[in-house]
Amino acid sequence: MIKVVFFAALREQLNCSELSINSDNLATVADLKNHLASKDENWQQVFANSALLSAVNHDMVSSEQAIKAGDEVAFFPPVTGG
């Protein structure tokens, strides 16, 4: 299983902060994105946003990043701290 977490505007748009997903057939962050986007129209729209950032195990990564069972994958909007 993969733990998936969402933050800020993304969390609100999806009305979801965390979910678990079976990692079979999901080789990369891009695969996971496509899988999540297929949930419904709202999720599809949200994941169509190219500005979306992703992290695997607390490191910022690109969509090509490989993922495996036990990973924590995060999706969030560009950051605005400081």
């Binding site: 995060a74 950051v79 605005t80």
Partner: protein, 159 residues
């Protein structure tokens, strides 16, 4: 729980907290038993009363626990590779903050001032574009998540 996390490495401390902080106390810690560093540069970021023409009433700061600390530690490690600096402290508050409240503190000491200035600004610039914090602003326009600024991206890219 006012202290969300506190991460300390050699001469480096990172704190994510809901509580306010004291600039004087932080600088005293940076300077304590530290007579080799003659320069101390601090940055303090506060909630402004307006943003892009709107009257702001409060900010709510969200972050990604775990990744926040890791990304800040990485940024500080990069600064330590690039400049000859002594101690570094970074504090970032989360939760609801009001006008004039302190949001973020970066303190850097060094033997020579140039290093402390550069490292401090570098840490702030990278914090702005890499550390997973998000601001929701309550203003005359209602409550809205702030958009990231391309100027911040450009500024970080210049280092």
């Amino acid at each position: 729980m006012t202290k969300v996390s506190n991460t300390a490495a050699a001469n480096t401390e990172i704190s994510i907290q809901t509580a306010d902080f004291s600039l004087a106390d932080e600088v005293a810690l940076l300077e304590r038993d530290n007579a080799i560093d003659g320069a101390v540069v601090t940055f303090t970021g506060r909630v402004r009363n307006q943003n892009e023409g709107k009257a702001v009433t409060s900010l709510t700061l969200e972050h990604y626990p775990g990744m926040t600390e890791k990304s800040l530690a990485k940024i500080i490690a990069q600064a330590k590779e690039r400049w000859r600096i002594g101690r570094v402290k970074v504090i970032h508050r989360v939760g609801e903050l009001f006008i004039g409240d302190q949001i973020v503190f970066v303190g850097v000491t060094s033997k020579h001032r140039q290093d402390a200035f550069a490292a401090n600004e570098f840490i702030m610039d990278y914090l702005k574009v890499q550390a997973p914090f998000w601001k929701k602003e309550a203003s005359t326009d209602g409550a809205n998540w702030l958009d990231a600024k391309t100027t911040d991206e450009n500024k970080a890219a210049k280092w």
